[in-house]
Symmetry: C2
Subunit: 322 residues, 2 copies
């Protein structure tokens, strides 16, 4: 059997663990609820047990474990620093020190979206090399920047917070404390909120049918379906959000002229309407140099970018350090 | 005598040549008018003669020549591509091929602001290493991005067009063809235009005194003096422009978390009022991670960044190639 590596994605709701080989072929996976209120010690004990159980299942101990966490991390020591979506007791948790004795292999810890970027870099579109911007469009908007094949980390793995570019200086309040961030205009909740407004205002008949008039059922997926079915207002809401996203992408293109921009996360599932609008906006906004060579693509790994990112982190872990 | 290197900055109005040693100590310099209408052949012949004359003056042939041009360049072959401020006959000019036989040393050609960035990297604040964003604030706004000590070039040296980030999506028309670019809000002409409005509207008494009421004499320098002398409206105009600049800087900080942001060019001469506003804006806008470690400084080289950049380009020329 070839070498195997383990990956753990610590989310606010669930913990997902996978084991894969060097080619990124997943040979085992399992999810458990996070129950973050139990505190870091108990949760990490369950993480360790999960990895050990998976390793036994596949009959092979992992060479290393890559762990993705939702926040900033002391990369060198594998210690959490600032995890905004978990209780404050998750600050300064020595994840590496806690896990290594249990799992019996080196443990590397990194921000979750930077980890997903590493997944796309190692096993997805980024394999072609060069310079890539990755945006994960979900409840929030995160990202990662790869320059000449190397993930830009920054202090505590903080570089790549692409959802917190200001797009509208006087725009809506953002969870980060600033305003008019890309995240306030093009995240899943931002788009869905406009869908809810249209629904409640009687301006989206197809969306009304698809959701049976229930605001709680409005998602970007339902909105994409409603737009395709003829809801012009819903279509406009998607195009408007994608236009803001396009401005965010254009700002990165003028600064870095990347070979590739990859859009992942649930919002990217809107598909062609979103991608075409982003491409058109980049075309309109980047006129200072010819940027027709910048490919703008959906993630090749889709939902799997995070899990495979953890595998990539495990594989190159020691060399990611600052 | 130590090794010497030559630098030529080809501007729309003047050509500036310098010779310096490896430490960046300038041992000879001279400027001549560009007279770009004479066409590339004649202008490049004069460039060659200028470099040869300077070399004779200092009694030492340069090891290499670094030439900065206002636009995009095929770096590998030293051929101009798109120089928006020079007549169209300047497209596809084989600068290296033309100059090398005359000057008797290797010739490297690069965009002028990327060259200035290289100057700041090699002889200025960038010497400390790490990741640096450089913004040249003048008639236009250009820039350069240095990642882990290495200048990001992009195709044709195009990366680093930091003045063409969109700051106001529906903002003023930009020379590049887009709108609301940072350049339309915080370049010298953008700031001076607001000064002229205040002057003509009778809203800037100190500025009126300083310029004797003549709009043609309104510059960012005069405006800084008027603000310091008590013109609150002029002060507000500067703070507003610096706030937009701060948003542009903040967008780069969230994406790259650099160690250092350097502001150069004439507009940076406004001084503390500009720098403090930029720092405050970055503090307000970058809340997603602690960014107090990002230093925001005036260029150490000032007007000399371009000339010394050419020297740096000559010194490392062959290794800049894509």
């Amino acid at each position: 059997m070839p070498r195997t590596y383990a990956s753990v994605d610590l989310g606010g709701t669930n913990i997902k663990a996978v084991v894969a080989d060097e080619a990124g072929v997943i040979v085992g996976s399992q999810s458990i609820p996070t129950l973050s209120y139990e505190g870091p010690d108990k949760v990490l004990d369950r993480v360790a047990a999960l990895v050990v159980a998976l390793a036994q299942q596949v009959g092979h101990a992992p060479e290393a474990l890559g762990m993705a966490v939702p926040g900033l991390v002391d990369l060198q020591h594998g210690v959490t620093k600032f995890l905004p979506n978990l209780p404050t007791q998750w600050r300064d948790v020595p994840v590496r020190e806690h896990l290594e004795p249990h799992v019996g292999c080196p443990v590397y810890v990194l921000n979750d979206v930077r980890t997903a970027t590493l997944g796309e870099l190692t096993f997805g579109h980024g394999r072609a090399g060069g310079t890539m911007v990755f945006l994960a469009l979900g409840t929030g908007i995160g990202g990662g920047v790869v320059i000449d094949g190397r993930l830009r980390l920054g202090p505590l793995g903080s570089a790549g917070e692409l959802g917190h570019q200001t797009i509208l200086p006087d725009g809506p309040i953002c969870g980060c404390g600033s305003r008019g961030c890309l995240e306030t205009l093009a995240s899943g909740p931002a788009i869905a909120a406009e869908g809810v407004r249209l629904l409640l205002s009687g301006l989206a008949p197809r969306l009304y049918e698809l959701t049976e008039g229930q605001p709680s059922r409005v998602t970007t997926r339902e909105m994409a379906a409603a737009a395709a079915a003829g809801d012009e207002n819903v279509r406009h809401a998607i195009v408007r959000a994608a236009g803001f996203l396009g401005i965010g992408v254009a700002n990165l293109v003028v600064a870095l002229h990347p070979d590739l921009v990859v859009l992942g996360g649930g919002v990217a599932g809107i598909g062609d309407l979103l991608f075409e609008t982003v491409r058109q906006t980049v075309h309109q906004r980047v006129q200072v140099f010819p940027a027709g060579d910048v490919a703008i693509r959906p993630s090749l790994l889709g939902d799997g970018a995070g899990a495979l990112g953890g595998i990539a982190l495990a594989m190159c872990g020691g060399q990611l350090g600052q």
